[in-house]
Symmetry: C2
Amino acid sequence: MENKITPAQHTEMPDLEVLFDLADLFKVFGDSTRIRIMFTISDNEMSVLSIAEALNMEQSTISHQLRVLRQNKLVRVRREGKQIYYSLDDDHVKKIIEMGLDHVLE
Amino acid sequence: MENKITPAQHTEMPDLEVLFDLADLFKVFGDSTRIRIMFTISDNEMSVLSIAEALNMEQSTISHQLRVLRQNKLVRVRREGKQIYYSLDDDHVKKIIEMGLDHVLE
DNA sequence: TTAACATATGAACATTTATTCATATGTTCA
DNA sequence: TGAACATATGAATAAATGTTCATATGTTAA
């Protein structure tokens, strides 16, 4: 179904700084723990401990990785009492993952 | 234009193995040298030396990174005489980069 | 075959990064 | 206030990764 004839598309090379940011963004997706976290919270928001239990990993590990996701604006945070709930920031994130999945699954 | 109402979409968590592959794929995009290489050859195929010159980096560095791209099936290779020409493997690759760019550029 | 050139590769090194442990911070409830 | 719980964080360690240097492999043309 592909093979639409695409006009020779001149891809402008973005500024170096943007390229570094881009690489940094993909770096965040380039860790299986973070990927698993993102899948885990893709349907419903979840508390840190729930995520840790779901993945059978240490709370500390999850917390460290959630920080990375937070710093890169890939997750949303909401506090409710003692717990802190994390969810994916937007559908953008899902789409990036889907694109990658497409490629991995041939 | 977004904000189409999306049905609560049950995102199945893929097998662990797939998740590792997915992380590995993104890992490849998570290096600025490789990103720059991909942009450099996104319009036209280029020889290893040309790429190295374009990026002002060592031939060895580029060759090592091209190997990573090759192993992950992100580039196509064509030999012509002494030179070896690299190009992006498919539009898939471009799309993944574009998705990332969208997020980086807000 | 040899010289000149293009690319690939192994080893070494420096840097980055993920995880763990221990503990700090923050919240609730008695 | 203090105890119990949830989360965050700093330091330490081990593992992974990118670049460089030196050199090997492969190709062409004389």
